[in-house]
Amino acid sequence: MDISKEKMVEMYTIMSRIRMFELRVSELFAAGKIPGFVHLYAGEEAIATGVCANLLGSDYITSTHRGHGHLIAKGGEIQFMMAEVLGKKTGYCKGKGGSMHIADVALGILGANGIVGAGPPLAAGAALACQYQDKGAIAVCFFGDGASNQGTTHEAMNLATCWKLPVVFIAENNMYGISSCTLNSMCVPNIADRASAYDMPGVVVDGNDVMAVFEASGEAIKRARQGQGPSLIECKTYRHRGHFEGDPCAYRRKEELEEWKEKDPIPRFEQKLVALGVMSAEQVREIQDTLKKQLEEAERFAEESPFPDVSELMSDVYTA
């Protein structure tokens, strides 16, 4: 695979940024500073990072309720994300959206989404716009194993193949939809097996191996850009935390979590890059320090930002 050292370091940095951001979010949630629902991506960072490493600014993504990782990987800045999660006026959505709705269309981010399965049709639509405008851009749809059973996902995949849309469906199979294990919610071992129902390529990849994700999704993205239509990539992974913060997680075995923590994508990639001599231990520390500083700054920015004024309640409903 043709990839520069810088790119690999950047991917490592992004994964680490996501993790660090979220662990802080989890602390802030526990401290009662974040209202609503917060779904963390910890353990799954290799997916968003590996996929988005193939994307350009002009490409689009749709995300999910578990969106922080996708957004950061697509270029979202953590100070505006932190401000949003805290409901501040300086957040990506002026505090109106919160964790489940962070978006920035200018960055190609069509939003986290509170509705499971809402993303696939939206991504197909973004891909339709890309195809229509013919500028070589494409769309990527992140969705969960749970969302794979939703009718909207089926419809979007079917329409995407009928219209040969430049869209890549990234199934993040973390084995659970809240408490529902995939073993009880689908009878096929792989979500990728469903690609054959639409005659699109379906590939399974280790979702905790950022390079594997980068390569597999890179192929699919290239296909899409070349006008060869959609693909489905399934990334097998696991979430380290509960479904949302506050979930006691009684439906999972502790050992299962421990096993998967062994496969944590971040130390794994870190060790690999150090072993390959791409990064030194020194560099790792530097990266972590920089990220920490950036996060502190982001948090300060967010904390110091005002809440939106109540007069803003009524704006942004309609475009004049």
Binding site: H101, V105, L122, A126, L128, S315
Partner: protein, 325 residues
């Protein structure tokens, strides 16, 4: 002015707008080669080709959802749901996505799309192909809701809806498609949010929508023979609702009857009545009456369907009742 049917007026609006703006595409089931089940999109495929006129599989969530996605990325979709009764399989993309994206994103999105659908009873299409559901769409912040009653309004409103930067639900009563009327040629708009007085009067205001406008006009004609002067007001768009025009008319006549085809309970007429009961209570000389469908699904059998649809007779009775009190 040329004369054309309601369906032709809508067709005309499509063609003019598609010529004007290359970012408009039309999609839906049977909108292309078939030209639309009611003929509204006839000829578009030949004129604009398959890139801009897209027949879809039977997949309403994806039809609406791709429109929302495409609109957020710069296109201007005009999609057809065929029958509004099918909204139940596609509603999420309309009310949770299209309508809310701008707000949820703090203003950072624009969803210029039109969702067209036919509504209404009258052809024996029964419970799942005859409903009027405008009240649902009215209740959704972020949507606009249009319901024309004449060919000229249909054309002018559809052009406005297509040019609007917000998601617009455009409801076409199926009994109106064959209605003929004069329609201004070429570029011509009717603004969203402006009611139209279809007949002036001074004794009682009748607010009517879609097909019921014609019931109201015919009742008004008969009532004038009894010496009752009826003002017929057609809101044309239910959201934005032209409250000022409604209040002005009621302040003049002091009496209000509302007629629409949807079931009365929690229908559009409830909002209009409630709004007037709040803002013009002191100007009212009589109870506000609503003439609307009874609380039953639309029946198939012709005599039942006829009884279901709010009739001229029922409207006349209601007008006489408010005149007597």
């Amino acid at each position: 002015m040329p004369t054309m049917t309601f369906a032709q007026a809508l067709n005309d609006a499509h063609k003019l707008e598609m010529l004007r703006d290359p970012n408009i595409y039309v999609a839906g089931e049977d909108v292309g080669i078939y030209g639309g089940i009611f003929g509204v999109t006839g000829g578009l495929l030949d004129q604009f080709g398959p890139k801009r006129v897209r027949d879809t599989p039977i997949t309403e969530s994806a039809i609406v959802g791709t429109a929302v996605g495409a609109a957020s990325c710069g296109l201007r979709p005009v999609v057809e749901l065929m029958f509004v009764d099918f909204i139940g399989v596609a509603l999420d993309q309309l009310f949770n996505q299209a309508a809310k994206m701008k707000y949820m994103f703090g203003g950072k999105a624009k969803i210029p799309m039109v969702l067209r659908a036919t509504c209404g009873a009258g052809i024996g299409a029964a419970a799942q192909h005859s409903q009027c559901l405008e009240a649902w769409f009215m209740h959704v912040p972020g949507l606009k809701v249009v319901m024309p009653s004449t060919p000229a309004d249909a054309k002018g409103l559809l052009i406005s809806a297509i040019r609007d930067d917000n998601p617009v639900v455009f409801l076409e009563h199926k009994m109106l498609y064959a209605l003929e009327g004069e329609v201004p040629a070429g570029d011509y708009t009717v603004p969203l949010g402006k009611a139209d007085i279809k007949r002036e009067g001074k004794d009682v205001t009748v607010i009517a929508t879609a097909q019921a406008v014609h019931t109201a006009l015919s009742a008004a004609e008969k009532l004038s023979a009894d010496g009752i002067s009826v003002e017929v007001l057609d809101p044309r768009t239910l959201n934005p609702l032209d409250e000022e025009a409604i209040l002005e008319s009621v302040r003049k006549t002091h009496r209000l009857v509302i007629i629409h085809e949807a079931v009365k309970f929690a229908g559009a007429g409830a909002e209009i009545a409630a709004m007037v009961a709040e803002k013009a209570f002191d100007r009212l000389d009589a109870p506000i009456l609503r003439v609307a469908a009874p609380f039953v699904p639309v029946p198939f059998s012709p005599p039942l369907e006829k009884e279901y649809i709010p009739s001229e007779e029922k409207l006349i009775r209601a007008v006489k009742t408010v005149m007597e009190s």
